[in-house]
Amino acid sequence: MTTILILAFSLTLIYFTITERFRTYAILTGMQGFLLFAISVIELEKISTANLLFIIAETVLFKTILVPFLLMRIIREMKFPRVHKRALPGYYAIILASALLLLSYITAVSLGNTEVDRLYLTVSLFAMFTGLLLIITHKKIFSHLVGFLVLENAVFLFSLTIGNEMPMLINTAILLDIFISVLILGAFATRIGRATESMESEDLSQLKD
């Protein structure tokens, strides 16, 4: 069951790299949140109830509902054009993504630790790379935001890999997630939107030498 969920998660990741509409991003983010919720419920069976509740609150309330909602709101408020700007043509992005997927798999295999589920490792590394790729190959701040959210999801997935024994690590990761996401999404993104009208990254690339 977990395997299917994780594969679904990686599918969303691939879709992230090729999608061309902002709305899709928001939806995908929500889907990822939900998938994470499912995985954590299945995986973290031995965890204390309080912790489990906390994690569920995080994944469901925050990742699945609040974040997509905020993203949608930004899209609405800023009246984004549908298609976003890339720094790199789309087909390159997908080639890169495949290469990174391969790289993640190789890394995961060569880690060669039987205690760890290789799939987890592969997908979470892939998620991390996808997050970075979203940031690197896109010019819009909105895409950067989404990239960061994917990165956060990667961290979360990765912390699930470690499993039941280390609730502290997971909890901290979650705290970080909430904290930063809210900060970036809530405070800054809107402020930038107001300041630069179209949230173009070009407006915010004047500091250079």
Binding site: A87, I135, I136, T137, H144, S201, S205, L207, K208
Partner: protein, 660 residues
């Protein structure tokens, strides 16, 4: 003693508090106090010929060994004297610019002056790596601040940065030398070098040190900072820099030579060749210059070359176990250090007086200054004769020593060295001739004839404050010429104690007798001249003495602009040396249709080919390359994240191939 030095260092900061004359007096008092406590032991060491170093260790700096040996003592005396003269000269010179230079700059000036003095004193006595380097860089920095005194002009800022960077490169060589020695032997500083030079491969350290010191001294091809920095600095600063600061490079070279214990020949030959080239190149460039201070700066390179010839010859003498050659070479070199510190500072001081009085350093605009400033002119003439190596003055004595050394080396019966020495002799002779050429030009065009250009104000004789130090220096210049034996005896002590040679100090040939005789002949020359002048005066008394216009060979409409200028004086020479040193002409051609040509200007500039190839071209290459490499800070955030990813992947790949 230590507390006094610390107190002086501390009090030097009060220079920023005082205003007006008090600032100068404080500088002077601090200078004098230090001098008393530094120079007294130094003189004791030199005069007593103390062979055993005089040692004490300070507690403030955590026990640095300070060794006052005769060589250091000799340099301390020279530093003291030159710096004192500069300090006496400074206020008169700086007075002209009181309005345009900020007060702080002036405080900074005196502050740096003092610290330059302290630093050079420390360099003379410190033997360990880190303290030595600290003192060395304080010297560089303080002189840098002195150079940038008139920093309002871009050229001056560029010259001083150029100076700083090249000094820093020299410093890096010294740093490499020190850390190499310490890493290999475990003994810090020059004592470690002594140990390391006995090991195979130890020569590397020697050359690291040599390059480091050669940059300071201004051997070619490390000289390129010199002709830029000297004209930029206030004149008395040029005087002390040229007079004593660049000699700290020579001091360093002597110091590392004193650490050697074999293998003298190869370094000796290389230093000799480099020195002959320096002296020739320096003087050949000097002739082209029409900026008086730049001319003098090039002559510093020439004289460093002459000093180097002495040192190189001395080294070869050590290697060939020829005490005569060793003694004469080193004595000539070291005496020339002293001599150059005298006549070069005198030249700069009097040139500074001219600059202060006329507002220009361009010889082509000057002329006829001697009538307005007879004292300054006389002093400049004296120093010109001294620097050209003419008897009866001090420059001759040291060149005589070096010549004698090279001639005595001819007895070595090894063809290679004979040819080397003969060529060095010819080179030195040519250098002397060129120097005379250059200084007849410098003196003749600046001070004689009629004024060529329009001066800002009519020149007046320099005030007593500025003349006094010059007279003192002039006196010593003559003194060394007439009684050289005392000076040579002191230098003999230095040589015997420093280079561990088997030279008997009172070898018959070098005894006072020879130099007593030479001094006597010099005296005779003076007496003869004076006698002839008296005869002339006697004969002329009562006869008609008339004056008229200069004979114009029938042309009656001559004017001052038609006189020979610096450029025309050197034009024949320029043709001769054109394959080696190129000149650039800037002028506007007269076209055929130009029936009534209007006013035109014509300028000639010599270019330093070595500077262009060694400094400018690589500098341009590096900055150009750096500019192309500056692609990271794009302002685009997705690039910034990319760097992280690339770094991650790069390191992973490198580790995969075990490259990390």
């Amino acid at each position: 003693m230590e507390t006094i030095f610390v107190a002086v260092l501390f009090l030097s900061f009060f220079l920023f508090v005082f205003h007006g004359r008090a600032k100068y007096y404080l500088t002077f008092v601090l200078f004098a106090v230090t001098a008393i406590f530094a120079v007294t032991p130094a003189i004791q060491v030199i005069v007593s010929g103390l062979q055993v170093p005089y040692t004490y260790s300070g507690s403030l700096t955590g026990g640095i060994n300070i060794v006052l040996d005769p060589m250091g003592a000799l340099f301390i005396c020279m530093i003291f004297f030159t710096m004192l003269m500069g300090l006496l000269y400074a206020p008169g010179y700086l007075k002209n610019d009181h309005a345009s230079v900020p007060l702080t700059t002036r405080s900074l000036h005196y502050f740096s002056y003092l610290w330059l003095y302290f630093a050079m004193l420390s360099i003379s006595v410190v033997r360990e790596g880190m303290p030595f380097l600290i003192a060395w860089e304080i010297m560089t920095l303080s002189s840098f601040v002195l150079v940038i005194y008139y920093g309002k002009e871009r050229t001056i800022i560029q010259a001083s940065i150029n100076y700083l960077i090249q000094m820093h490169i020299g410093f890096l060589f010294l740093l490499a030398g020190f850390i190499l020695v310490e890493a290999k032997t475990g003994v810090p500083g020059f004592d470690g070098l002594k140990v390391y030079l006995q090991e195979p491969g130890g020569q590397v350290a020697f050359w690291l040190f040599f390059v480091g010191f050669a940059v300071k001294a201004g051997f070619i091809p490390f000289h390129t900072w010199l002709p830029e920095a000297h004209p930029a600095a206030p004149t008395h600063v040029s005087g002390i820099m040229s007079g004593i600061m660049i000699k700290m490079g020579i001091f360093g070279i002597l110091r590392i030579i004193s650490c050697m214990s074999g293998d003298y020949l190869v370094p000796g030959v290389i230093i000799l060749v480099l020195a002959v080239m320096s002296s020739l190149y320096g003087v050949m460039q000097a002739i082209f210059q029409h900026d008086l201070k730049r001319l003098l700066a090039w002559h510093s390179i020439e004289n460093i070359g002459i000093i180097g010839i002495g040192i190189g010859a001395g080294l070869i003498g050590l290697g060939m176990h020829s005490p005569a050659l060793a003694f004469l070479g080193f004595a000539g070199g070291i005496l020339h250090v002293l001599n150059h510190s005298l006549f070069k500072s005198l030249l700069f001081f009097s040139a500074g007086s001219v600059y202060a009085a006329t507002g220009t350093r361009d010889i082509n605009l000057l002329g006829g200054i001697m009538k307005k400033m007879p004292m300054t002119a006389g002093l400049f003439l004296l120093a010109s004769m001294a620097i050209s190596g003419l008897p009866p003055l001090n420059g001759f004595i040291s060149e005589f020593l070096i010549f004698s050394g090279l001639f005595s080396g001819l007895a070595s019966h090894q063809v290679f060295y004979i040819i080397l020495f003969i060529l060095s002799i010819a080179g030195l002779a040519l250098t002397g001739g060129l120097a005379a050429f250059c200084f007849t030009k410098a003196f003749g065009i600046t001070f004689l004839g009629n004024t060529r250009g329009k001066l800002l104000h009519t020149p007046e004789e320099a005030p007593v404050g500025m003349l006094l130090p010059q007279f003192i220096i002039g006196l010593i210049i003559v003194l060394i010429g007439i009684v050289p034996m005392f000076f040579i005896r002191w230098i003999g002590t230095v040589i015997v104690t420093s280079f561990n040679t088997s030279i008997p100090v009172d070898m018959p040939m070098f005894s006072g007798r020879l130099f007593g005789l030479i001094g006597m002949i010099s005296g005779l020359l003076i007496i003869l001249t004076v006698a002839l002048l008296l005869v002339r005066k006697l004969l002329l008394s009562g006869r008609s003495i008339k004056s008229g216009p200069t004979w114009g060979c029938g042309y009656t409409a001559g004017n001052p602009a038609m006189q020979y200028t610096s450029t025309s004086f050197a034009s024949d020479y320029a043709k001769l040396s054109s394959p080696l040193i190129s000149q650039k002409q800037h002028y506007q051609r007269i076209e055929e249709k130009d029936i009534f040509p209007d006013n035109r200007t014509y300028e000639v500039h010599s270019s330093d080919g070595i500077k262009e190839k060694v400094i400018d071209a690589p500098g341009r290459f590096i900055t150009g390359m750096m500019r192309r490499l500056a692609v990271l800070q794009t302002g685009k955030m997705h690039h910034y994240v990319l760097y992280a990813l690339l770094f991650l992947i790069a390191v992973l790949i490198l580790s995969l191939f075990n490259l990390l």
